[in-house]
Subunit: 388 residues, 2 copies
């Protein structure tokens, strides 16, 4: 092994960074935001970006229409962090537990934030209405409607349940509308099927809203969203707003769906080569699953990207070079099975950038973004949060 490789210092302005770490390309981020905003503006509805992917105020400010929102969050920790940063119009888009209402109320009061909540049962509605009556703060509520059998929500044509929940909410709290998430669209990759999923989400939303209105209940907000259906929606008649998050950053999974291209992915993990198993064609890096996350979402897609796709320091993918396996702090980089590409010459100390399977999961393994602009490290660091 003596003398087979020199130690490389890396390059591209990233030499001083400790690895593994997150790089976020601010130019790609901005282009992704601009593209989605033009599309949703063109459909005549409001974009309510979901901040759960980036969990960063700096990213949120680029994604939102203005510094106060509107925005979507997935945890009350996010709601607090973004409220502290000036965001005032938020939906906490995960079904609320009664134990969380005091914290919701505190966020609304402390920051004067219009924080709305989501529920899908009469039990929750009754608890929320009772809390509202006790506190004197009529919490704004969206009823979660199930677009596609993916997860939570009332059936969009289950009039009995919708009206019962709506009436229970209105008995003290404030019924604001309906909210859907077409999560099953993540399993698609055919544009025609994605357009159908977007239309099915819209139709379900409008049906549920009409049921509530038909029963004399208010339904000013009709909120839909997922990155794939937002990208493929052709009409949003009857919808008032679209929620989506991962579109800002993109990832290999969304590229597999067809929501973005690999060139649209703004996030990479910077890694350093720490060894080789030359007889096996393995390059070992210091970015294991702790840095990349355990997400293997592309495993079920047409192209399995392992734990990530390896790029050079400029962000250009090496042909068929993936993170084939990962331990906690070791990534095994190798050419995809069956591919003819050769292994690049990356000595110990060389650096790579790894495109992630899932931006939400990979981001959550880190506490900051190192910002790339014009292809080089800008020097800016954008903190991000985790936890609940």
């Amino acid at each position: 092994m003596i003398g087979d490789t020199a130690v490389s210092p890396g390059g591209g302005g990233f030499d001083g960074l400790e690895t593994p770490c997150l790089l976020l390309d601010a130019d790609i981020l901005q282009a992704n935001v601009d593209r989605m905003r033009r599309h949703i503006d063109g459909l005549g509805v409001t974009l309510r970006p979901h901040l759960k992917t980036a969990k960063s105020l700096a990213v949120a400010r680029r994604a939102m229409a203005g510094p106060a929102g509107p925005a979507t969050v997935s945890t009350l920790r996010e709601a607090e962090y973004f409220a502290e940063g000036g965001v005032r119009d938020m939906i906490y888009a995960v079904g609320v537990a009664p134990q969380k209402l005091d914290r919701v109320g505190a966020i609304r009061q402390r920051w004067g934030a219009d924080l709305a909540i989501v529920l899908d049962s009469a039990a929750q509605a009754e608890a929320v209405a009772a809390w509202s009556r006790r506190s004197g703060d009529a919490l704004p509520v969206l009823i979660e409607v199930d677009a596609d059998g993916h997860r939570s929500g009332v059936g969009p044509r289950d009039a009995e349940a919708l009206v019962a929940i709506g009436r229970a909410v209105a008995d003290g709290a404030s019924l604001r509308g309906v909210l859907l998430h077409a999560g099953d669209s993540y399993g698609l990759s055919d544009p025609a099927a994605l357009r159908r999923a977007a239309e099915a989400e819209r139709v379900a939303a409008v049906a549920a809203a009409e049921i509530l209105r038909g029963a004399g209940l208010p339904c000013p907000v009709v909120s839909v969203g997922s990155t794939p259906t937002a990208r493929y929606a052709e009409t949003l008649a009857g919808v008032t707003e679209v929620r989506a998050g991962v579109f800002m950053i993109g990832d290999l999974f969304q590229a597999g769906v067809g929501s973005c291209t690999i060139d649209d992915i703004a996030l990479t993990v910077l890694a350093t080569v720490i060894g080789h198993q030359r007889d096996k064609g393995w390059i070992i890096t210091d970015a294991g699953w702790m840095a990349l996350s355990r997400d293997r979402g592309t495993a079920r897609q047409a192209v399995d990207q392992g734990y990530g796709l390896a790029c050079d320091i400029a962000g250009r993918p090496y042909p068929d070079l993936i993170v084939r396996d990962a331990n906690q702090e070791h990534g095994i980089v190798a050419v995809r099975k069956g591919a003819a590409a050769g292994l690049p010459d990356l000595p110990v100390g060389a650096r790579l950038r790894l495109l992630p399977n899932h931006a939400c999961a990979t981001g959550a393994q880190h506490d900051r973004y190192h910002v790339v602009a014009d292809g080089r490290l800008s020097g800016e660091i954008w903190p991000r949060i985790n936890g609940w």
Copy 2:
């Protein structure tokens, strides 16, 4: 849906906790540590606990022989954190990149810590020796030896490479010995095969050490370890120390291997029920993959535990109730496919405890442990770190 379920406040002393959060049973932790220490003491070698699972000083102090160590770490961030907390004898057990040597040296100097490093190539050895000569600090080095083709390391009988690396290290740095990790043992579940894996790891370690000694090089330390091989080792003749980490906490994956039982798992995620899809037999909780991690290690074992096994608030598993699927902040709890068990009555607001697939991965999604003692919340919170 009206009136079908009451809102439950939870119970068991955990009512005041925000969910999702981590619970760590200090009694189970202590029993796990005591059992492993008796076993390794009985084999006449030193236990060098790996702190990468818990990443907590409070846990480390219970696991180590004394407040100064010895211990193993997987990142330099861990080395800094534990050095600040008084740990003085550490191995950073991931192959070192040349760029990290200044930080290694700073930890050694600032805290007077005996922090050793690991490498498996002459390129690294030359860089380390050159750094040592320049700085005047002869870094202690273990040569990583590959026990089973799992990941990194020199072949245990590759005398040419071992001696070349050893000599390159000794030209300025301090050769301390060899280090192996029988990671392929994670794929086993048969006790006889696990005993063979432990013996193979030992034999490989001794062979590599003998090659170095035969060439006139020092090899005082012969370090092996993985939780399964540590548990199943019957003799450790020629070995000086054993590294293992996850044994302290346990998880469903290790239970599938046979390194622990389900009753030995000290870590659970406390979750709150936020909804139901009754026609599908789903209970929706607020512990999704963000709280549980994306780790699906049990998917390849005889018993697939989904994203985790659901227990009541006292920590007793419900029959065949698993986290069948997970979104970012939603867990879908359901009876295992094909099982006859009924769904427990868990209304919105009820609480469950979820046993994790992989303690290292689940722990990393959180920043603290809420400590359980005598089956109840003790009030103690043990912080934990993440990052690099």
